[in-house]
């Protein structure tokens, strides 16, 4: 067994593994019940799926510049996907993405003000029933329909 066949077998393993993980993650993005669980699936596709595919295809080419390009790409993916996942998750919570029905706990329930989903998307302030708040506090309605769902009942 020479290095050629070892390299080809390892490349095929990485390519098939990366493609399977990416397909599973796309299935998760399509079928998960919540924006947060979908983000969970998308980040796995980012690091494991795309990283394995890049490594496998660079091993398939076999030259050193290709492998170094793939290693640089994997390094960038590993270091940036986690940051974008954190930013997107925080933005999804603060912009009012609806939580799934079988959500067990909401650790940020009274920490951040969280508007209701349908009251914030694209509706200009002028045509809303209530305009600017009078006391200058947070403009989000915490007692009405916009309050987070009570999971204890």
């Amino acid at each position: 067994m020479n290095w050629e066949s070892v390299r080809e077998i390892v490349a095929a393993f990485f390519i098939l593994g990366g493609a399977f993980v990416t397909f599973s993650a796309a299935l998760g993005v399509a079928r998960f019940p919540d924006a947060f669980t979908r983000m969970h699936a998308a980040t796995k596709a980012g690091v494991v799926g795309a990283g394995s595919l890049m490594l496998g295809c660079s091993l398939a080419v076999g030259t050193w510049p290709a492998v170094l390009s793939a290693l640089v790409g994997v390094f960038f993916l590993v270091s940036t996907v986690a940051l974008s996942a954190h930013a997107l998750g925080r933005a999804a919570y603060l912009s009012g993405a609806p939580l799934a029905e079988n959500t067990v706990a909401n650790a940020l329930e009274n920490v951040y003000p969280r508007p209701s989903h349908d009251r914030l998307l694209g509706v200009p302030a002028a045509i809303l029933p209530e305009t600017a708040p009078s006391d200058g506090a947070c403009a989000v309605d915490m007692e009405g329909a916009g309050a987070p769902r009570d999971m204890r009942t």
Partner: protein
């Protein structure tokens, strides 16, 4: 055909329905965050398809294209997240514009 070409073809056959699934989620996501997540995922699928192209043709340039797309899609996702948090597209339509400075 050797094993690498077989793996590339099977991987491409796995990634094509993945693109369709994520595109459906981008069209049907009930909130804007879902659409941003699906857009980010489509960028990652583009990186995966570019890597398969470099395994199929032998040109290393497609891998570098993937690295560039990874960086730019990260910047776009963070920009979209900041836009979603602020909650306004046009100045003057922000419902939280009357808050004291420094509060969320």
């Amino acid at each position: 055909m050797n094993i690498v070409m077989w793996a590339t073809i099977i991987a491409a056959l796995l990634l094509i329905p993945a693109v369709a699934l994520v595109a459906w989620r981008m069209l049907a996501g009930p909130s804007s965050a879902d659409r941003v997540i699906a857009t980010d995922m489509l960028g990652l699928l583009g990186i995966s398809l570019a890597s398969l192209a470099t395994a199929y043709t032998g040109y290393t340039a497609y891998l570098d294209i993937g690295v560039g797309v990874a960086l730019i899609s990260f910047l776009g996702a963070v920009a979209f997240a900041s836009l979603l948090e602020r909650g306004q597209l046009l100045p003057g339509t922000d419902r939280r514009a009357h808050q004291p400075d420094g509060e969320q």
